[in-house]
Amino acid sequence: MNGYRGGVDAIRGLVRETEVHRDIYINQDVFQLEMEHLFANTWVYVGHDSQVANAGDYFGTTIGAQPVLMVRHTDNTVRVLHNRCPHKGVRITTETCGNTGKFFRCPYHAWSFKTDGSLLAIPLRKGYENTGLETSHAVAGMTPVKHVRNYRGFVFAKLSDHGPEFEEYFGESLSSIDNMVDRSPAGRLEVAGGVLRYMHNCNWKMLVENQTDTCHPMVAHESSAGTAVEVWKNAPPGTKKPMAVEIFAPFISPYEFYEGMGIRIWPNGHGHTGVSHSIHSDYSAVPGYFQMMVEAHGEARAKAILDENRHNTVYFPNTMIKGPIQLLRLFKPIAADKTLVESWTFRLVGAPDMLLERTLMYNRLINAPTSVVGHDDLEVYERAQEGLHVDANQWVNVQRLYSAAEMSEPTAVTNGTTEWQMRNQFRAWAKFMTMSMGAQ
């Protein structure tokens, strides 16, 4: 297939009810259109406001292929700016994060900008008198991203004017962020520990699909989780099960475990595994934590918050959170066959340090470039990236537990091994890819 640019029908044709065309993963033109349309029309996670706690704090990142800066403005709101000088295009910040004071200053010609992006000063400004500067692109300063929303500390942005408003876009799926934040006795999260960055030579969507793929852990992770369980069997009787084994062991739970945990589907490509229980359900209690939660929320509410053990919540297009262990993964697209996976961790403000310790151990054991779980995941992604070049069959199957009736059910709770959530993502993909392409 080719001719994707301007080809709304060609793009729609890539997504069928139970299969998707391989060009979604391997075609660079499709990737470029994703950057222009999908990552512009959707609300994309930018960062957490604790990363810019004080006025002048900034953090540089990307939305799709677009370099942006998240910054705390002097009025204490969090702004998102395109990260280029309006003069010659130079990236404004030299460090990934830091404090810029009251203004940004370009390192090339010292043009300066307030932290809302507006132009503050140009050296030797008289050189622009009577040149029509007031009608230039440059005079507007650093272009702000118009649609920015800080939801309980999580900052999302939408680059284009197309697409739904924030509440409509996320709807009930925000309950997963709520649950993660509510687990703090102070009702607040802070980014903590440092981010793990793992480069993947595969398409970003393979990672997003994997988040709700519950038929792979007992296969792909037999070598890591299975070995952990086997090695642990040789421990002297009566030895307390270490945190690391508690983290590894549930990965090789049987199919029935995953079938029973359930998957919840939400509109616009969002959804989560672990409706009734998850691999995070049976971790040892952290001394003192429940009491802190009872004091903060009351016993009934504390129990309700902690009984929720959602496994992976996908925020379409490229974010996943794990509420019970305060972890967020961001799948940053770089090319059709290249993805940077960032795994972020959070401290529950007011909770014992041991929770953060467990969060960091989980992240290290499962998501690091040195992770024995991550190694086998990446291996299968890279094999898929290669295998998809086979011309004899150009379709990827997402048929498991399909029913035609699901097309009229935007929200559902269903069998935990369904691929409905993957189909949900692809239906959202086609919708947000094409909504700004204009009529054919």
Partner: protein
Amino acid sequence: MSPPSNQDLIDFVTREARLIDQHRLEEWLDLFAEDGIYWMPLEWGQTDPRLTASLMYEDKLLLKIRVERLKGNRTFSQKPKSRCHHLLQVPQVDQRDDATGTYTVWTPMHYVETRFDEQQLYAAWATHTLAVVDGHLRIKLKRVDLVNCDAAFGSIQLFM
């Protein structure tokens, strides 16, 4: 036993690297004290392994799981297997405490890991905290500080 000489400490560190390169990982594990730790920090100059993320912070149980996994039939990321190569500078003995039998050795190194047609080069400093346990030198802590510890890496599958 009499206290180890500086040359004994240097020989220990070079043999440790050799055992990894030769995939003699059971013997390598035996070099660790029962409470020994292998630490690869994520942060430049990192001091805290507990509340700051690391690439690896593993006790002997976790190291044993890695070694067993590498032997497994269904260890897909090791089909084919990775190979590795250490190039060490002469280890430098930074601290000696013969009274307690503890020693610190610092070793700049280049480490190469290969799989399929890919070869990755890493530069690092290894810091070994060694102790005499039951008459033998053992690793209490092996700390590997990558020069680019905070870079985005692909899979790092063996031991530096």
